[in-house]
Symmetry: C2
Subunit: 451 residues, 2 copies
């Protein structure tokens, strides 16, 4: 039977299974759902077994378990490691949900529930695709390993050490992940870059107390003036980051890459209207899509000092605080960038100010060449099913575990997403458009068979 017919025949059964899984409120961030998280892991293990996968294991960690399974009966063929996560985001604000988040409901060919697209629904496609091939052909065209975590929504704290400790077990020729997005309906995309992340707090102290601006105004340093001066020095007037060496390891954009990114398409007026923005702003010489996907950035995320109440208080603040994050690309390393920012801060600290820096998060950027055969095969699979070749995109966000997989396992990571940007991830009324449920199953089968 052709796969299209097979999936059609089993559609109701598959959707019922997915609904059953999605009904389990496996919210990793909330300890009262610890039992649900475990139930979702157990359900996953059983389903992997029923699909024909072997060596199904539930690995306990310091947090939520990692589920492993494999099917290694294609000697001489490549090994593919499928990664995904069975945990979901919290559901607040509950009153904005049109149907309860853990009572899956299909309306207008969309499956509504928490986790419908992120990531249970997309991960489920891989299980059913593998199951379909095994049932139809009694064997797989590749060796398969599956590694599913329950802490993606809470920073994958325990997957990082699991990866390090299980490099042999997880050894693979490629990692396959469906946790990203199409550009829009019928517009497939393969993400070839995720930005890295580093963050820091900047704390300025001048006097040991706030001072009266009548008595001292004009004669002593003001912590807010110092911080404002310091932060203003971080960018030049062309929107570039002024930190010495900041761009050293950010690759120049080739004409090919720029042409590929431009395919994504971008409606500046529509964005300005939606955000009620007078103007866009960013690094001179780059388009919006390049700035947000393929260029690094430094943003002040928060700042405070002195009097914040109503009216006037004639005070000279003795301390002031800011929070900063950078998004990184190419070979930029979080620690190196943090060190460069600290050097900039030291050399730009105004007289009378004492600055302390607290370094916080550090995540490497991920990048993969669209030209490698595996990505071209993924593109072929999409094109076969969707009738249009996917665009190779760069995503501005950060998923540090992707880079960790690539680095720890020395394997390319293929990001084949089937969600839509409008599916309310992390928000009320999360849903998964079933057109991409149907096409996703076929695309994964196509991809596995083409490798």
């Amino acid at each position: 039977m052709a796969y299209e017919a097979y999936f059609k025949e089993h559609r109701e059964e598959h959707l019922d299974q997915l609904k059953e899984w999605i009904s389990i409120p496996s919210i990793s961030a909330q300890s009262e759902h610890k039992g649900d998280v475990n139930r979702a892991a157990g359900w996953l293990a059983d389903t992997l077994k029923n699909a024909g996968l072997e060596n199904v294991e539930i690995h306990e960690t310091a947090g939520h378990p990692v589920v492993y399974a494999d099917h290694l009966h294609a000697p001489g063929k490549p090994t593919i490691l499928v990664y995904g996560h069975y945990d979901v985001q919290p559901v607040d604000p509950l009153h904005l949900w049109e149907t309860p988040p853990f009572e899956p409901d299909i309306r207008d060919n969309k499956l509504y529930a928490r986790g419908a697209t992120d990531d249970k629904g997309q991960l489920f496609l891989h299980i059913k695709a593998i199951e379909a091939i095994l049932r139809q052909e009694k064997s797989l065209p590749v060796n398969i390993k599956v590694c599913i975590e329950g802490e993606e929504e809470i920073s994958s704290a325990n997957l990082h050490p699991f990866l390090e400790a299980n490099k042999d077990k997880l050894a693979t020729d490629a990692v396959l992940i469906s946790d990203t997005e199409l550009l829009g309906p019928g517009r497939p995309a393969i993400c070839t870059g995720l930005r890295g992340l580093c963050s820091l707090d900047v704390n300025v102290r001048t006097a040991n107390t706030d001072l009266h601006s009548g008595t001292y105004g004009g004669g002593v340093p003001n912590a807010l003036h110092s911080l404002v001066t310091l932060l203003a020095s971080l960018h030049d007037e062309q929107g570039r980051v002024s930190v010495d060496g900041f761009y050293d390891d950010a690759p120049a954009l080739s004409d090919e890459m720029r042409a590929e990114l431009a395919k994504k398409g971008f409606d500046e007026e529509q964005l300005k209207a939606r955000l009620d923005l007078d103007a866009l702003f960013g690094e001179e010489g780059y388009s919006y899509v390049e700035r947000t996907g393929a260029r690094p950035t430094l943003e002040i995320n928060g700042m405070y000092g002195g009097f914040q109440g109503e009216g006037t208080k004639t005070v000279i603040p003795g301390e002031a605080h800011a929070k900063i994050t950078c998004r990184l690309v190419g070979r930029q390393k979080p620690q190196d960038i943090l060190d460069k920012i600290e050097r900039h801060i030291r050399s730009h600290t105004p007289a009378g100010a004492r600055v302390t820096v607290v370094q916080r998060e550090k995540g490497n950027p991920f990048t993969i060449e669209p030209s490698i055969p595996l990505l071209q095969k993924a593109a072929d699979a999409y094109e076969q099913v969707y009738g249009t070749r996917p665009v190779f995109t760069k995503d501005g966000g950060s998923i540090p575990i992707v880079e960790a997989f690539a680095r720890e396992l020395s394997a390319p990571v293929v990001l084949m997403g089937f969600g839509l940007p409008t599916e309310n991830l992390h928000a009320p009324n999360e849903h998964f458009h079933l057109e991409n449920f149907d096409k996703g199953l076929l695309t994964i089968v196509e991809f596995l068979k083409r490798i």
Copy 2:
């Protein structure tokens, strides 16, 4: 009897009276003390009457009453209007007081209580000086008017309209106020300048919501970047305010004025040690005493935007806020300065930011020429009693009612203070050094007789 002997003979009686007045908790800011404020006004009216003053009136206002009295029996002689206030500051934190704030206690020749120096104690000197002259000489060398308010600690909201409505009644040749400070023990001072004040809020909006720095970072304006850029433009690297025309109406300091201000003396190392400051900072070309007394200043009093919690939040703030006050000198007008700052803000607003400005307080600076005869006579009186000529100082703080008296009544204002900078005004353990109680009585008598 010489006045020295007179005041010595009546010292216990005077101190007992003052203690009685100070025992009344006339805290103008706290409505539960409304009755106490009225009692303090009544006590004052009775005491003025007993001192020999006439036409004693308690004027009700929208807030606390104004007490008026006069003694107008010196035809052809100048009229002097004595101003002061009978309200006091709140007493928190109560546990830091060594003796209860409204149980006056004399220790080490200092009278401890709320209001001991600010301003009941200093105002009391005038009443007893007038009473002494009347008792000793049966007449006054000048005409006297007394105008005492009960809202100085809460911005004199009702005295301003009272002044405007009673210009004829209050008409005078000079205003005499004791609500300022000596430079230190045995170092008298006459304040010849108080800075004016204006304040404003600056609000920046970029997008209509906070945005995710992964998706949008590098492509959209950041409200904190905009505000930081804007605020950094307000000063140059030499600590000068960069607002066009800001200094236009601030007078140049003459060599004489600089020499007079330098007499105040200032220990930079002591100040740095006390405030734990690495360095002082301010407008280049001016000393600390000049910067804080005779030069205008612009201070950011508070600022906030974006994430202020613990850790990292990858957000691009859609709005940011700052609060600014200026201290003004010479002929600088609050409205003019606010308008100039607004123009600066308009012309320095970064692309993509929308800025709104809320103008708040406006108080004119006060200044008086030390060379005028009345101030020289005040200096003579101090010199006679203290054995040293007072320094003519500029105070960095703002008491808008002083300028209002000078303007509404077209009269010079003589600021003859008898407090010390160390007497804990507005703080626990406020006190009044009785050396200046004794010398203050004699100095006021000397001054009135010399006019």
